[in-house]
Symmetry: C2
Subunit: 337 residues, 2 copies
């Protein structure tokens, strides 16, 4: 659908102020001076911004609360997403409540009920690993509550999605290992029921094929991302006559655990085995040798999600379906040879 209406972004650009300032002014926030509000209202009128939309949006009793649902706040990526959302939300006069699914589909449903009963103005969610059926989200959309999905999304749902190109990230990681001279590259994959991990796995396979390297079945393992699964995979690999000389892990935690096991077994990293992990964590820099990664812009993804929620809260129609944020390869000691 085409975007025919003027948005708060247009007003912001014309006045050279932040979109969040426009949002606050049109929401009549007391954090904005009357002078600025007048300026913004005048510009809105001048550009033909549909103030009725704001009015109609305001007539729904607003709580100014945004519900954020993530698998676990303890992981670096999700904490970055949350802080990106908060940066923008508080600035625009919104507050956020956070809830963790702990990767359970049942708890995800429970939390949506909670957000609904709390009458949040919008929801930003990352699906749990267990989630396959998404009817609980369809209901939220039917109730007219703005929803933005982040990272782990479902294309069955008609709402904006903020993602990264998981295939491309994996492809870059493996191609870098190839360029570093690795010939026997293994992949420590995640749960294949989750599209994100499936795409990373596909990226590994495609990069191997492009490089003309053989893929042994034993080099391509799927885990539940737990420490125990990593230990088992490493045991298999380190006892093979042809030990892998490069390992690409599907997330940060598995990368940290795998590299530690190798180092403790007396293996020289990166000379004997090189490591690259999808995802980042401050621990990548603390460990010796430091761990290379595909950096995912969690903060930026959170900000974009919140921006799309803000626009919807102001009654704007959103024509964005999917935003693909750029990833980048950070080469550290674990793969620099």
């Amino acid at each position: 659908m085409a975007k025919t209406t003027i948005t708060i972004n247009d007003i912001a650009r014309d006045l050279n102020v932040a979109p969040s300032t426009v949002s606050r002014a049109l929401n009549n926030s007391n954090k904005i001076s009357e002078k600025t509000k007048d300026l913004i209202r005048d510009k809105a009128a001048e550009l033909g911004y549909d103030l009725n939309m704001v009015a109609s949006s305001l007539s729904r009793k607003q709580t100014n609360i945004i519900g954020v649902m993530v698998p676990s706040v303890n992981r670096h990526f999700f904490s970055q997403v949350v802080s990106g959302i908060e940066d923008l939300a508080y600035d625009a006069g919104y507050r956020i409540i956070i809830a963790q699914t702990n990767e359970l589909a049942e708890r995800e449903k429970d939390i949506l009920t909670l957000f609904n009963s709390t009458r949040v103005d919008g929801i930003i969610a990352c699906l749990s690993l267990e989630t396959s059926d998404v009817t609980h989200f369809s209901k939220i959309l039917k109730n007219g509550i703005p929803l933005v999905l982040i990272d782990r999304v479902s294309y069955e749902l008609d709402c904006p999605k903020i993602v990264v190109d998981n295939h491309e990230g994996a492809f870059q990681a493996v191609s870098h290992l190839v360029r570093s001279g690795c010939k026997r590259i293994a992949h420590l994959g995640g749960p294949m029921g989750c599209p994100v991990f499936k795409e990373r796995s596909k990226g590994y396979l495609d990069a191997m094929q492009k490089a003309g390297l053989p893929i042994h079945a034993k080099y391509h393992l799927s885990t539940d991302l737990s420490t125990r699964d990593v230990q088992e995979a490493m045991k298999v690999w380190l006892s093979m006559p042809e030990t892998p000389d490069g390992i690409f892990t599907s997330d940060s935690h598995t990368g940290l655990v795998a590299a530690k096991i190798a180092t403790e077994a007396g293996i020289r990293v990166p000379e004997e085995i090189s490591f690259v992990a999808f995802g980042d964590d401050p621990a990548h820099e603390y460990i010796t040798p430091s761990l290379s990664s595909i950096e995912v812009p969690g903060n930026e993804m959170g900000r974009s999600a919140m921006q799309l929620i803000l626009e919807q809260c102001l009654g704007e129609s959103i024509d964005v379906q999917t935003i693909i944020k750029p990833i980048q390869l950070i080469i550290r000691s674990s793969s620099f040879r």
Copy 2:
């Protein structure tokens, strides 16, 4: 005040079931079988448990939502606290919403207003570093909303508190460095406006005095816990003619940063400088050498806080004022010599 009434713990003990099961049964949760409910109600009647209290508590419209307020979910300790709370809460039919203060007193007030308007059944909070005035919490107590403070508490507030003995933890850490042969022990302190960090600093001073070791003013620095402050402190220390041979840091992050700076400067850890940090984080085990710590039982503290909230939600009067949870010294390579 004396505890004169029978509590859910008494019923739980007699029936050999979890207190949370008793709580759910008396709350008439549909997750408990009718048979078990009958058993628990019978035992409650037999022991003279005051069911009117439950009834009166239930007559206040319950939302079964608990608000949890922490400085930042990204830190290991707070994420442990949150998961301890969740373990018990979900089991007892409650859900939790989390909000971050980011160490800002203003945001703390804002979040309490949010929790109040969300009509949470109880609040578990850790004060922000900025908080000195606690009248916003007094109001919560006046409104009859159960409140439990955790870790960073205010003794001005008449509510249960779950803490650790910060003085004792610091004393143990420094005494361990003394036993390892350190003579010039420095302390990288936190913000002295916060009682938790003041107590840790006092523990350092007392342990030094007990060991008969001199305390140079330059060995005792206060920081805002930021990476930059740690860098500056380490710069001062490493350029002194008498470099410290032991460093006790007031939290986990400062310990990780300080140890990394020393290692990168070519200093042998623990031979030339030993490190112990107050607090724990998985990264303590990833780094080389691994970092010794005073382990704080975050999960256990969260569980206790939630247990006290549950009892209050059932209308029980709480005679507990402060629970001091045990800390333990974990000796790793950074201080083992």
